[in-house]
Every structure is written in structure tokens, then in C-alpha cells.
Subunit: 400 residues, 2 copies
């Protein structure tokens, strides 16, 4: 599509086509009459737009119209449908120890997935990129999709990313390498790569298909190993100056902790301490070392006193964090996400109870059902957002 700088008559078609496309994304097969009703366009225009979009490859016309619908009379309507396989998007979760890639069609259906570990935590940048690229190619190959058909890629990383997708502050492992993933994948595959903070993607993901569906003001806390959060206000992600919005490290100043550990990390640590100290009681069921967070939750469920004390402590800590967030951000809902979320349900009650002590505007608290795929789900959503916003500027590999 040609670029449009000022208001030219072509802008109209652009607007109309966007409206029709939006409607089709939200529907199954549709008739022209339905398009007219949804968009307010006249029949002539609606048909012209549909034909336009067909030629570009974004939608297709169905055969066998008779097979559809329960209508009886009159000339049978043509039916159009989003060509959900006209292209694909990739959602990536680039963690410390592994890379995960999800292939999604244009309706957001995940149709492929691949995951590959990094050999070690501190491998060189190009090797890291090679692993990521290989994982992406594996995932694409698994669904028989060509790299040319990838319309956008979104990658989540555990570093602050500003709203332009730049990693400014070097932090954690990422800064050590400063892998320029955007340039690398653009050069190798010609892909458009969007970078985003993993907690921010978790927020997008959970708002799309998690506990926060339909909620415009929500904070999603990735709470397993470290605490980080993605903040959505009025449906928009908060970034801050350098992408650092949503950091929760101010807990340090309350408890003097050196870093912001998440639920799983703390459960493990506190359990290990309790075992080492050989306090009066229990945690009998655990091996003396290598205690896993899930074991602590399980023991608490079985009535183990020490484990329950740990959960109490966890709940209080989370209530403090959520209380502070509730006060300053005032979300409607706070979601606890990440791998630990499936266990964290038992914390909801205690957290809600204590929350009132720490804020006068307590948010609802929930756990995300998305588990550890919360970041890739968000990455897919982010890539789809880009594609949906830029559809009419994108060219498909196979238009006709």
C-alpha cells in the first residue's frame, strides 16, 4: 500500500478497509449485509472493500454458500472470511536458560511451539542469537510455514525495554551480552522484531486470555523467581522513561532485602533456612536440601506448621507489594502470574485479608490461569497488535 501523508481520497478507503477488517477479525464468515450493518457502509462500498481485501490476500471468499446459515429466501449471499493463515506471527520468551517460540495464526491461535535451552547462562551473543533463530525455525518448520510468511515477531526479555522497543538500562543477564536481537533477526530473516519486557507481555497476555479479560486497569506481577510487574492503565502499557515502570524493588527499603525475590524463590529459601536451623518442628516430608516451592505449598496443605508459617509470611509480603501498587497505581485487579501461579491460589485469601491494612484502595487479587506460557501468550498478542495496526501497510508473501 502506498504511504499516505495527507488526507487524500485513498485515506477513505483505508479507513473503510480497516473497519471491515476489524469486524471480520471479530467474526466468522460474514455476508456483505452483515458488513454493512457493522460498519455503516453501503452495499456498493462494502463489496468494493471486500474485493480489495481479497486481492491483497487478507480475506477469502467461501464456496458453497448454501451450506451456511439458516436463511431461506432470496439470492444467496456471498460469504467472506478472514484468511487467518495469510501470514503468521511469532511470540518469543527469551529467558535466562532457554528460549521459547510460539507460532500463531492471524486469529491468535497458537499452532506451533518450540523450546531450546541455552548451553550455559553466559554464552556469547551470537550463539544466543543462533539458538533463538534455530528455535524459531524449528517452530515454523513444525507447522510448515515459511519464514517469509512471518509478519511480525515479538520477544519478551527480562530487562527494561522502553516504549520504542529499545533496551536502555543494562540489567541482569541481558545487559551482559546486549544481544541486538532486532537487528539480527531483521538481517537474517527480514523480520520485524518488537522487543518488550517480559512482565509487560505477561500483562498483555493475561488481559487477552487470562484472569484480566475485559479489565482496563490491571497490574500483572510475575512472581516466581523475581518480582516484576506489567502495568496497564486505561488499556495501555506503562513504560516509564527507560522501560523501568513496574519494578517492585522498593520493598528493599522496607525489609532491607538485597534483591526482590519472588514467591517460589522465597518459599525455597525460607524452607531451607527452617530446615538448617532444625527448629522445633517438622517439614519432615522434605529432603534436607533442594526443597522446591511446590513442596512447601503441598506441606502447608497437609497441615505442616512450618510450611504454613512460610505461606503466611509470603502472603504478608505479597500483600505489602500489592498494597503499595494498589495505592499508587490504583488498578481494578492485580494478577499473580508465572509458573508459581497455579500453586499461589491458596495465598489469595490471606493476601486479600491483609491487603486492607496496607491500602485504602485495595484491588481485587487473582492468579493467572496461563501458567508459564503467560509471556509467550502476551508476545503473540503484542505481535498481533502490531500486525492489526499496520495491516494495510504490510504486503503478504502470497497475495492472490
Amino acid at each position: 500500500m502506498t504511504e499516505i501523508s495527507v488526507a487524500t481520497p485513498q485515506l477513505l478507503r483505508r479507513v473503510s478497509a480497516g473497519a471491515v477488517l476489524d469486524f471480520m477479525r471479530a467474526s466468522e464468515a460474514v455476508t456483505v449485509t452483515e458488513v454493512m450493518e457493522a460498519t455503516g457502509l453501503t452495499r456498493a462500498t462494502a463489496i468494493a472493500v471486500c474485493e480489495d481485501l481479497m486481492q491483497r490476500g487478507w480475506i477469502r471468499e467461501l464456496e458453497n454458500q448454501r451450506a451456511f446459515g439458516g436463511y431461506q429466501k432470496g439470492r444467496p449471499a456471498r460469504r467472506f472470511e478472514l484468511s487467518e493463515r495469510a501470514g503468521y506471527v511469532l511470540g518469543m520468551d527469551v529467558g535466562v536458560s532457554k528460549a521459547t517460540v510460539v507460532v500463531s495464526d492471524l486469529r491468535g491461535k497458537a499452532i506451533g511451539r518450540a523450546s531450546q535451552p541455552f548451553a550455559e547462562a553466559e554464552i556469547p551473543a551470537e550463539e544466543r542469537i543462533a539458538v533463538i533463530d534455530r528455535t524459531a525455525m524449528m517452530a515454523l518448520h513444525g507447522v510448515g510455514a515459511s519464514p517469509d510468511s512471518v509478519l511480525a515477531v515479538c520477544a519478551g526479555v527480562a530487562a527494561p525495554v522502553d516504549r520504542n522497543g529499545e533496551v536502555l538500562v543494562t540489567q541482569h543477564f541481558w545487559g551482559l551480552f546486549d544481544v541486538d536481537l532486532k537487528a539480527a533477526l531483521r538481517d537474517r530473516r527480514g523480520w520485524t522484531v518488537l522487543l518488550e519486557n517480559d512482565a509487560n507481555l505477561a500483562a498483555l497476555g493475561d488481559r487477552w486470555r487470562g484472569a484480566a479479560v475485559g479489565v482496563d486497569d490491571v497490574v500483572v506481577i510475575l512472581a516466581s523467581e523475581r518480582l516484576g510487574s506489567g502495568v496497564i492503565d486505561g488499556g495501555r502499557l506503562l513504560h516509564g522513561r527507560g522501560g523501568g515502570a513496574g519494578e517492585l524493588a522498593f520493598l528493599d527499603m522496607v525489609e532491607g532485602v538485597g534483591d526482590t525475590y519472588g514467591i517460589a524463590a522465597l518459599a525455597r529459601t525460607w524452607a531451607a533456612v527452617a530446615l538448617a536451623g532444625k527448629a522445633k518442628t517438622s517439614l519432615r516430608d522434605f529432603a534436607a536440601e533442594g526443597v522446591e516451592a511446590e513442596q512447601v505449598f503441598a506441606a502447608a496443605a497437609n497441615g505442616d506448621a512450618v510450611a504454613r508459617a512460610i505461606l503466611e509470611r509470603l502472603a504478608d509480603r505479597m500483600a505489602r507489594v500489592i498494597g503499595a501498587v494498589s495505592t499508587i497505581i490504583n488498578p481494578e485487579l492485580v494478577v499473580i502470574g508465572g509458573a508459581v501461579a497455579k500453586s499461589a491460589g491458596v495465598l489469595l485469601g490471606p493476601i486479600a485479608e491483609r491487603l486492607k491494612e496496607y491500602t485504602v484502595t485495595p484491588a481485587r487479587v487473582a492468579v493467572s490461569p496461563l501458567g508459564d506460557s503467560i509471556v509467550t501468550v502476551g508476545a503473540v498478542r503484542c505481535a498481533l497488535d502490531y500486525v492489526e495496526k499496520n495491516t494495510l501497510d504490510l504486503e503478504l508473501a502470497v497475495p492472490a
Copy 2:
């Protein structure tokens, strides 16, 4: 202007007119050629649009073109200019004890002002409205403007206001009366009234004409009597679910304070405590009661030890607040605003020094030059934003 639901040819003119208007708002008298260069439109279209806007009354054509510019050759260009007096906006600061109203032209120039005290803190709603209305009429009368020429009104109140301008949570004095200012002024005067939290308006104001010009990620703390803040991220105000975003009451959980006092309130209180306790030393210059915050700042400047200790304490407290904000919101700049701002400059150094202890992403800190007019300045900006966004849907009282 007729409402447009779908993409009709009139939409084009709308877009073009908007672009021309935006350019004219940012310029003095302009020629058609300048409009062409700024908007990309052709001469014919630019002229048509200008004539359109003239007919609606938003711009005017200048006589005596010869008088302008340093150009020499060719046919003299017609010159157009924003009709900055085509209508007015009102910016209101509705405080606990008084109401202030500023009249502004369409270029944002304050041309009138009036202020009226409320007889007592707890007067009935209708009386409160009557005072506000009377203040507005006084301000308008002062500049010879008719109520019909008011295009929008924005009022700042010390209560949470959500992004739709609704006061949800009843809080402080406001909730006691629940004055429905929007409906009252609409019914009485036919005005469109936008409600907004006072700290949010302070943020808009300071970003417009204060210390935060050009900064997209900024937090403005109204810090005189109570602490409240307005958060702007990516140029957009944060509201949260019920308009409560920007509350800073989580300090409570650090120091066990019952409410969130601001700088002036604390300076006064701590000074009074020091005097009552008759500690070892000084504050000699103050009367034993009725200590004012400014006196504390003045005494500190003169080397008074107790006063300096109070400032140290204030700086530490502010550093904690700003530290927490810096971490979770990550703004580029934090501005201290309100009446106390002019004295608070001496705190900037100590605050910046301590800030590093409380966050790893410290923001720059500044004081606002807007003093206690920061809220009305923001209210004017907010009302202008509304007018500028809706210009083509508004009708002027005197078009031709």
C-alpha cells in the same frame, strides 16, 4: 458540524482542517504557502480549508498584508491567523476554602481571574455551587466575555476522579457534599464541564508551562498540605480504576503515620512540636504558636539548627516518596509543586543525595515555577485539550 460515523468524503476535509488548525495554533499569522508546506496540501485545498475555517469563525484573515513580513516580491500573500478570541475556556481550582477561576483565550493566554472564599468549610452543596458560579461570572465579566462564548470548563478538585470525569470514591471534604458540578453548570450555563483531580491538573500544567516542558514521563507531586501526585506516562495521564492513581499514602506503612501530610504541614507540625518540647535550642525567631512553614525555611537559611534538622527530615521523607515513585513508575522527572514549591528549592540537593539510597532508577527532581496557580494552569490546559480535540464539532456563538 455534522457527525460522521463512517468514512465519508467529508472526513477528508475534517482531517485536512484539523491539520491546518493545528499548524495555526502553533504559529502566528501564516500565509497559504506556509500552510501548504506545513500540511502537504496543495494550494487550492489549503485555500478552501482556510475559507472553511474562516466561515466557522475559528480563524480570521488579516488586512494590510503589506505590513507583515520581510518579503519583497510577487503578489502579496493573504495572511490568516487563529481567532484566539473566538471563544474562551475556564480553568477552575476548587479547593477546600476557596474557588479560583481563570479565563483563557484559545491560545492559552490567561486574560482574567477571580477568586472567592467559601463562607465555611462545610457549606451546603448548592451554596458551594453558587460561589463557584459567581466566581466564574466575575472572571468572565472582568474581561467582557459572555457566558455563551465559553467553549469548555475544567475544574480541579481534591478528590479522585476517574478518566471519564466521574467522582467515584467519596473522599475528604468533597465526598461530604458530592456537588454535581458538571450537571449544575451544564444546566445553568450550558457549559461542558470536565472534572479532574487537582494533582493530575498540576501535572498537565507543569508539563505545559512549568519545569516539565517537553518531558513525556513525569510525576508532579502537590506537596504543600497533603501529598498527592499526578502521573504522566508517555504524555498521558494515569488514572487507575477510580481515579486514585498517584496517591502516595503508602508511606503510612513505612512510618505508621495516619495520613499523608505534605511539606508545609509537616514543617509546621514538627516546628510546633520542637517548640512545645522546648528542646535544648532555638527556633527563637518564631512565635510560640502559629509557626508557618516559610518561617522554618527562613530560619534554616539563617543557620538555625532545629530548623535545619526539620529540613533534613523533610528531605528524607520526600526522598523516600520519590524513591518509591521512581522505582514503580520510572519517570524521567519528578516535580514538586504547589504553594510550598518556591521554598522547597533548598530541599532538592538533599533529596537528590538521599534518593540513590531508595531506588536504583532515580529521577531528576525539580520544583515547579508555577506556585499555587499550578492547578488552574493545568485546568486551562485540560479544557484547551478538549476544545482542540473537538474543534470541528463545536459551534461558535458568533461564527461569521
